[in-house]
Symmetry: C2
Subunit: 147 residues, 2 copies
């Protein structure tokens, strides 16, 4: 049967991660036109533009306009965790709203028997995404290229 819990990562987050990995695989400081990334990753250019806007505004990538322009990472691949990228593009990674912030704590919090389940879940999720960097992803994918 092999059923799975519905923990959906949207295309926005997934594409953002693939985009960042793509940039990380280039020479440091080299400008990469989004058009190229779109072609390589088979993602719509216009959609990628929207996604990278967020990454640019957060200072994760640097941009250069005009011909020979493009994007490049602001830091080395070791710097970026999956969590940083997903939180930025997906929003909070909390499994339930009441874990998201002070403003979302519900009235039932004290009586809520299930709260500790969500807390455990959140810790497990954070533990994964905060301990994988772009460098890890690249290293791992390199292992898969069997000659």
């Amino acid at each position: 049967m092999n059923m799975v819990i519905s923990v959906k990562i949207s295309t926005k987050g997934r594409y953002a991660l693939r985009l960042m990995v793509d940039l990380a695989q280039r020479k440091p400081g080299e400008n990469v036109a989004l058009k190229e990334v779109a072609a390589r990753q088979e993602i719509s250019l216009k959609y990628l533009e929207q996604i990278i806007t967020v990454l640019t505004k957060a200072g994760y990538v640097l941009s250069t306009r005009g011909s020979n322009g493009g994007y490049r990472l602001a830091h080395s691949p070791e710097y970026y965790t999956v969590g940083m990228i997903l939180r930025l593009t997906e929003g909070s990674l909390a499994p339930v709203a009441c874990l998201e912030g002070e403003e979302n704590t519900c009235d039932r919090r004290e009586q809520c028997a299930t709260l500790f389940v969500w807390e455990k879940l959140q810790k497990a999720i954070d533990d994964v995404v905060d301990n994988i960097t772009l460098a890890d992803i690249i290293a791992n994918s390199a292992d898969n290229y069997v000659i």
Copy 2:
């Protein structure tokens, strides 16, 4: 701004869990009218009816019609894991579609550098939800009742 939660458990799954915990806190074999659960948990009765239908059809709860009727657990609280309940009510979606089953493996699978991230995430989530039972939840919430 109210940004979207990406790794999110829907109300359906959350309510199902609260419903099951509520039933588990009753005397074994005692019929509990859904109306009571709805009042206690402050959830719409009509919405709960839809949710418990799934649990009933799966054989997780037993139902009795008519006055003095209601619902009761088919097994003891130790039997039910959070994973069982969430998978049933949330559906069978993986963090990403390509992990869902044979039929969804995408063309890019071999080149997909990010796949192992989603695999790790899935394992971490499964590890949490498959190792907490209704009995654990009840035991834990009992600890919180400070006199």
